[in-house]
């Protein structure tokens, strides 16, 4: 561990490399977190199957790529397939959880995640997979810093997707309906908004967002049927740090998480990277709690 720190000190370019890679993956975390915040804010359900949606999107994209489809086709394909799945899951399960105890929804979506894991392993095989990309890389500082062009494309596409979503929620009629239902379902209902349809659309939209994020990520990162949970946890952590509905905060938190995770992976060893993510979650929640308690004591 100390030797790794020493390497980092002696070769700052390596630190730059880690930071760039972290920022590039962070955009994808931000998109998944945005979807989770959307569902959380509108339906008051924490979707534990979030990571599985990302993984499924990636696996569909890889399957499409193996059949000769280009990236510009696989991403919409994955998004459409996940939209349909989200729609189905909403009417099969989620609709029955609306307004119920939070624990029920966490547990039920955990069940969805477990079902999806094994089904995905059967359909796509259990191995780590990655789509073949042939874009090559840019080299900087005498090849000390290597930036994969594909990762940059994924980053740009995620940012584009995020901006589109923010625009959709702010400007479009449906986006306004979603925000209205999030603020006060009864009032929205009185004004003629079909709240159940809005809930359904929100959940399906979240699935589609995750699908697109997964499809994009599959071109540069490994995808694994049983690897979804860490994405759920990352999304949760980002939402908790930034707060619901704070898109800017979510982007900063996601990029920060990506960088922190990459550095931790290098310093502690890659086998501890997932442990770091889950450990950081605990630290973040404990810190949040400590701050809240202090504020409450201050009020007294």
């Amino acid at each position: 561990m100390t030797s790794n720190l020493l390497i980092l000190y002696q070769a700052p370019a390596l630190g730059l490399q880690l930071a760039i890679d972290g920022i590039l993956i962070g955009a994808m975390f931000a998109i998944a977190a945005y979807g989770m915040a959307l569902v959380w804010g509108v339906t008051n359900i924490i979707n534990v199957a979030q990571g599985e949606f990302v993984m499924l999107g990636g696996l569909i994209a890889i399957l499409g790529a193996e059949h000769g489809l280009s990236l510009w086709l696989t991403v919409p394909l994955a998004a459409a397939a996940l939209y349909a799945l989200g729609w189905f899951l909403f009417y099969a399960v989620i609709v029955l959880l609306l307004g119920r105890d939070m624990f029920n929804s966490v547990f039920a979506t955990f069940g969805i995640a477990i079902v999806m894991q094994q089904v995905m392993a059967h359909v796509f095989g259990g191995a780590d997979r990655i789509a073949v990309s042939s874009l090559g890389s840019w080299f900087f500082l005498d090849s000390l810093v290597v930036v994969s062009k594909m990762k940059v494309v994924v980053f740009a596409a995620c940012i584009g997707l995020g901006i589109t979503l923010a625009w959709f929620l702010a400007r479009s009629r449906m986006g306004q309906a979603i925000r209205a239902v999030a603020q006060k379902p009864e009032a929205a209902s009185v004004l003629g908004i079909e709240t159940r349809k809005v809930y359904c659309l929100t959940y399906a939209l979240n699935a589609a967002i995750c699908g697109a994020a997964g499809a994009l990520a599959a071109t540069a990162y490994t995808i694994q049927p049983y690897g979804g949970l860490s994405y759920t946890i990352r999304s949760f952590m980002i939402v908790v740090v930034a707060g619901l509905g704070n898109l800017g905060g979510m982007i900063w938190a996601a990029l920060g998480l990506g960088v922190a995770e990459n550095f931790a992976g290098f310093i502690l060893g890659t086998q501890y990277q997932i442990a770091f993510v889950f450990g950081l979650l605990v630290v973040v929640l404990v810190f949040r709690n400590w701050r809240l308690r202090r504020q409450r004591q201050h009020l007294e």
């Binding site: 086998q271 442990a275 605990v282």
Partner: protein
Amino acid sequence: MAAYRALTPNRLLLVACLLAVGVVAPLVLPAYQLQLTELLLFIVFALAWDLVGGQMGYNSFGNVLFVGLGMYGAAIVQVGLFYDVGLYNAARGGGTQFVFDVPQFITGLVLGIPAAALISAFAAWLLGSLVLTMRGHYFAICTLGLGIAAGQIAAGIPWIGAGSGMLTPNPPEALGDVALLLYYLALGLAITCALSFAWLLSTRFGLALNAIRDDEDKAEAMGLRTHAAKVTAWVIAAGFLGAAGALYGNLVRFIDPVQTAFAGVTIGVWMILMALLGGKGTLAGPIVGAIVFQIMKELFWTYLLGWQRVALGLLIIAVAVFFPAGIVGFVRERGSAKVETEEQGP
């Protein structure tokens, strides 16, 4: 929720009958001895989860942390008393070097199980003041993170076998039927757990836990020391989980950090499912739930191999969506509905 009723003669008879069944079962059904031992440990898991989740309303997804700590703790004590743990794990516990004779094995077990309970209880005490101040889903997700982080960390420590896991001591040939010994140890643990919980829930402490579940702020305003009660319940649950984990490790004989010890997606979720299936917040619920679950699990594993997780996942969804009161809750609801109609009748 009905308050806990004390042991009436009828209940004592029921307990005695169950005890007799428990003692005789492995002798009558020797082919299912392993599954029965596992069932008894599942009963402890479900009861311990329910003390905090059902009775106190703190739905933990990370109780598997204490199972894993107990599992590793016991194995380390069992080996460490006589050999160097690092060398033992480097040699994968095999060869002629690491042989345990009968007194050594028994000593290891006798000291290992209480040590496991103490380690888990201590960990719960340390974590309690940090984690138990969270509410609702923050607590749920935080504990989930704790359980999984522990597995990932354990998988990186070479001293306890890292990712390739740790073997519990090989039982000596001369000892005879170790599986039967483990069964009776598990039976003793399950009975201790059920009876001590029955007693705990009949005291003011049990009422305090229920008050915390129903309205924590009010309970605190009434002058209850809610934080102390919460930590105490968690420590008790963790102690039982640790001891059960110690036995579970010796039962499966191989401790994989992610698949057996800190198995958040299997045992960690199963114990919630068992408590929920049987009936959250009741004493009989987790026991009934564990029995039903173990039968279903064995059926799934036998007839749906390869799709068993799908079946279990669907069961989780079905229970969470359609059956949140569980078997005991369902029976009670029907019972009270019957009483009401009878009262209204004449």
